[in-house]
């Protein structure tokens, strides 16, 4: 698996990658620091999965998702965000996201969400 991990915080990207490994996913990772990079790297790198923060500079995660879908890109997309309200989950779902993992997360919560997606 080749996975794009996006967060404007380098620390949080490291934590996400570390948690993926703790959950047993030893994937090849490419990193993005804002929504524009998510869009650009998704199209150029064609990852198998995108794990993106919501609130980022330049373009938010949901703006990146909308732009990718408009560009005809259907790479599976999930959010990893500190904002886990029902309103945000509904917005993510309507935009075509497969899941929303709320921060703080654990290796177990990653597995619970990712296993059905990978099946």
């Amino acid at each position: 698996m080749y996975v794009l991990v996006a967060d404007d915080s380098r620390v949080m990207r490291q934590i996400v990658i570390r948690t993926l490994r703790q959950a047993g996913y030893d994937w090849q990772i490419v990193e993005a620091a804002d929504g524009q990079e998510v869009y650009d790297l998704a199209l150029s790198e064609q990852p198998d999965l995108i794990l993106s923060d919501w609130n980022m500079p330049n373009a938010t995660g949901i703006e990146a998702l909308n732009a990718l879908r408009q560009a005809g890109c259907d790479i599976p997309f999930g959010f990893v965000t500190s904002e886990g309200s029902q309103e945000m989950r509904d917005q993510a779902d309507a935009a075509g996201a497969l899941f929303l993992i709320a921060k703080p997360f654990t290796a177990e919560s990653f597995r619970e969400v990712l296993e059905p997606v990978l099946a």
Binding site: S9, P57, S82, S85
Partner: protein, 156 residues
């Protein structure tokens, strides 16, 4: 009207903070607890805050986390799994401590009475002064012998 937007109890802030620290910093253990009494003045403070804004109402809330810079260094090392002797640069400190405020604030946002927009975190020695009437709540915490304060303020 304004205070009805932000009805967040101390116990809720404590639960959020304990979840955040247990998951991100302390390997699942709850090592941050409420501390009795006021924190007093920090000698070398660092603050991180996020704003939650409800544009339609012209209102919002601010969540602020503050501590001593030495404690923020230790938090950064814990988040990045660095050795105790490793140097913490200012960029990593701002990134790590800001992200803590972001995750705490993002969870507080989900408790507000109206959908709000969360800002990116800001980190500085001091948070901007707000009026005493805007103060809503604060919680003094002990984490591995360090004092942290999480406070909540009304905006607008």
């Amino acid at each position: 009207m304004s205070t009805a937007l932000v009805v967040v109890a101390k116990d809720q802030i404590l639960a959020i903070t304990q979840d955040v620290f247990a998951a991100m910093i302390d390997g699942g253990e709850v090592l941050i607890t409420e501390r009795a009494g006021a924190a007093g003045e920090f000698v070398d403070p660092v603050c991180a805050w996020v704003d939650m804004t409800v544009a339609a109402l012209g209102l919002g809330a601010r969540a602020v986390v503050r501590t001593e810079t030495a404690a923020a260094h230790e938090l950064t090392r814990a988040l990045l799994m660095m050795d105790a002797s490793e140097f913490v640069g200012p960029e990593d400190l701002a990134d790590a401590f800001g992200e803590l405020a972001n995750v705490v604030g993002g969870n507080v946002k989900s408790l507000l009475a109206a959908p709000a927009v969360l800002s990116l975190p800001t980190v500085a020695a001091h948070a901007p002064e707000l009026g005493a009437g805007q103060f809503l709540q604060d919680l003094t915490l002990d984490w591995r012998g360090h004092i942290l304060v999480v406070s909540l303020w009304m905006l607008g």
